[in-house]
């Protein structure tokens, strides 16, 4: 789906966001693009043309722009996606994805164009992402490299929870806090 500006309102319409996570968000992914007013599938929409077992979604520029709703990431994950490939991502979406184990793969514009072209020629079943090597490519054929923040990469590879890691710095945080709050006596509303 290499169109530009696939925003988080398209990824999951706001009206579904009052569901609890345990009920599963996969069914709401691209809901208004997947289904018509009567709840029937729109056959032309890409997700309705596939088997539903895909794990990599290829998007366009500024994928995930707009609202900060983490539900957009939940919907993609619960549907079965593990990675999103796009030339650029919405800032908050990229952050949200990294906190939930959804890999965002930013490709250079030219690489992305080439990748999409090759995908249409050789089919989409033999694509491989190597996070450790930071490459995306075909099991036989071209490979493209991508950038990822080292901290995000490490946490993803090791499956580390952000919060647990931060709490290892508890003493440093408390030390900072004491000094900082003294320097800003006006910070707490009276």
């Amino acid at each position: 789906m290499p169109s530009e500006n696939i925003d988080t309102d398209q990824l999951i319409p706001a009206r579904f966001m009052n569901r609890t996570r345990s009920s599963g968000y996969g069914g709401y992914l691209f809901y208004d693009l997947r289904y018509d007013a009567h709840g029937a599938q729109i056959p032309e929409f890409e997700l309705n043309k596939t088997s539903g077992s895909e794990v990599i979604l290829v998007g366009g520029q500024n994928f995930g722009c707009g609202s900060s709703r983490e539900a957009a990431v939940y919907a993609l994950l619960d549907y079965g996606f593990r990675a999103i490939v796009a030339p650029s991502f919405g800032d908050i979406f990229r952050n949200n994805a990294s906190k939930n184990g959804l890999l965002t793969v930013p490709l250079k514009d030219q690489d992305h164009t080439e990748f999409v072209e090759q995908l249409s020629q050789s089919g989409s079943t033999n694509v491989k992402i190597d996070l450790a090597m930071q490459t995306l490519g075909f099991t036989s054929g071209a490979n493209f490299s991508f950038e990822i923040d080292p901290a995000i990469k490490r946490k993803m590879l090791q499956g580390i929870d952000d919060l647990a890691e931060t709490l290892q710095y508890k003493a440093m945080i408390e030390n900072f806090e004491t000094k900082y709050l003294q320097s800003k006596p006006w910070l707490f509303p009276k």
């Binding site: 208004d32 500024n62 983490e70 919405g90 080292p150 931060t166 710095y169 440093m172 006006w186």
Partner: protein
């Protein structure tokens, strides 16, 4: 050594606890939560954690707040009661529907004096950039980050690149901060500021009211930026002084003394540096499904660069004039344009006029509603045939039961014209409050500068 830091860099360094692998752990001064924070509260409860600083955390029910117009369902009121329970459990001051401080988070928190210069402000909402109007480094975060801030009052952040947008000149008659914001987005594009923190500078910005600055900073997220910021000045301090939760007495004096230093150094470098001439700004109207698909009201839907899918969705053709395009309904409100000054602008158009299409007006807060009632604006609205609703996010995001029906065209003061944003199949045209009011009166998109009553009112832009 001569310092050469930008304002955001100064705030950032002042809040940095530590650095690890290129990420900084920042202390967070203000955390605002709303109904959407339920995932985060669930997350910390599940791991048995407490809220680290309940007194630096404030809540308000806005996204699902019923305006009395649409049909809220059970699930929506559950969202509001869940916020009530979560904030009570963690001893967080939260503004419930019946609270005199109730409103949209980005309208009411500033009104209460909680958005302060030099602070770091986060909220699980992308339009948190709004609070940059006070010289705060403010940005939206997702649910996992909300949980992280609740539990630690800190956040990991990768440094952002600085961008400066300098705006000089007088905004012409009939234009506002909203038109300016849309004009800037048209130049930069929806992804043009991705990875950047934007600082606004120039004499236009220095003259803008706090309300106008909030509108401008609010829309900065629509260029993909992390945040927008305006250095605080006497306009900021005067606006904040005496607000319910703002610092008082000696604390106020200490604070202002610290705030006066909050500006970028003269030799600070910005990776991107743009200049905009405000006198070129005209009333702007979006025609597409992204905020940079925008044109002057006097223009046509462009041939060049028009996105076919967007045009199909919007039911438009390239080359079609923007004016005279019929609308089905109109909306004035949201964190972008739901403030008193916005309602005042709309009232200048609506005075002695009747709306031709349904116009929903939802004030940004209970305080805005009280002012509008006290000063006779509400009488003007009701006499014009508009619907005066309760405060909430309402038709900006369509989560509370207020919705635009499929295929219907809505002139809206909100911030996003995304597909389906105001309801499945809805067609949104973003514009200023005066432009929306004029469209509601005409039943189609018109140039507010031609509106007789508005001209007579002599509305002077900042």
């Amino acid at each position: 050594m001569i310092s050469s830091q930008t304002l955001v860099e100064k705030i950032w360094n002042n809040h940095r606890i530590l650095n690890n692998e290129g990420m900084d752990l920042l202390f967070i001064d203000r955390h605002f939560v709303h109904e959407g924070s339920h995932h985060a509260f669930h997350k910390i409860s599940a791991s048995g954690r407490e809220v680290r600083h309940p007194r630096l955390t404030f809540g308000v029910a806005d996204h699902y707040a019923p305006t009395g117009v649409g049909k809220p369902d059970e699930a929506m009121s559950v969202m509001i009661s869940r916020l009530r329970e979560n904030t009570a459990q963690h001893r967080i001051d939260s503004f419930d529907l019946s609270d005199a401080r109730h409103g949209i988070v980005h309208v009411t928190m500033p009104e209460q004096g909680l958005s302060l210069p030099g602070t770091t402000i986060v909220c699980g909402d992308s339009h948190t950039a709004t609070h940059g109007a006070f010289g705060a480094f403010a940005f939206g975060i997702g649910a996992s980050e909300v949980a992280h801030v609740l539990a630690t009052q800190t956040l990991w952040q990768k440094p952002v690149e600085p961008m400066r947008i300098t705006i000089n000149g007088r905004l012409p008659f009939g234009t506002s901060a909203k038109d300016l914001a849309l004009y800037v987005i048209a130049q930069i594009g929806t992804g043009g500021a991705a990875g950047y923190s934007v600082e606004y500078a120039g004499d236009t910005v220095a003259r803008l009211s706090i309300e106008g600055r909030m509108t401008l900073c609010n829309m900065t997220i629509e260029m993909g930026a992390r945040s927008g910021i305006i250095p605080p000045d006497d306009i900021t301090f005067t606006w904040l002084k005496g607000r319910a939760l703002a610092p008082v007495g000696a604390d106020w004096d200490t604070a202002v003394a610290q705030w006066r230093d909050l500006k970028s150094d003269r030799n600070a470098t910005f990776k991107k540096d743009l200049t905009i001439e405000a006198s070129n700004v005209v009333p702007m109207v979006t025609w597409g499904t992204a905020p940079d698909q925008v044109a002057a009201v006097t223009a046509c839907v462009p041939f060049d660069g028009a996105d076919d899918a967007a045009l199909r969705y919007m039911g438009l053709t390239a080359g079609q004039a923007i004016t005279a395009m019929p609308i089905d309904q109109a909306f004035i409100g949201s964190c972008t344009n739901g403030r008193y000054s916005d309602l005042l602008e709309a009232s200048r158009v609506l005075l002695d006029n009747q709306v031709k299409v349904p116009l929903l007006i939802s004030p940004g807060s209970a305080e805005v509603a009280r002012q509008a009632e006290a000063n006779g604006l509400v009488d003007i609205f009701i006499q014009s045939g508009a619907t005066w609703a309760r405060s909430g996010c309402s038709l900006c995001v369509g989560m509370n039961g207020d919705r635009v029906k499929p295929g219907q065209r809505c002139a809206s003061t909100s911030n996003r014209n995304f597909k389906g944003r105001q309801g499945k199949g809805s067609r949104t045209h973003l514009m200023s409050p005066a432009m929306v009011a004029a469209a509601a009166v005409a039943g189609c998109i018109v140039d507010v500068r031609q509106h007789a009553g508005y001209r007579r009112s002599g509305s002077v832009p900042s």
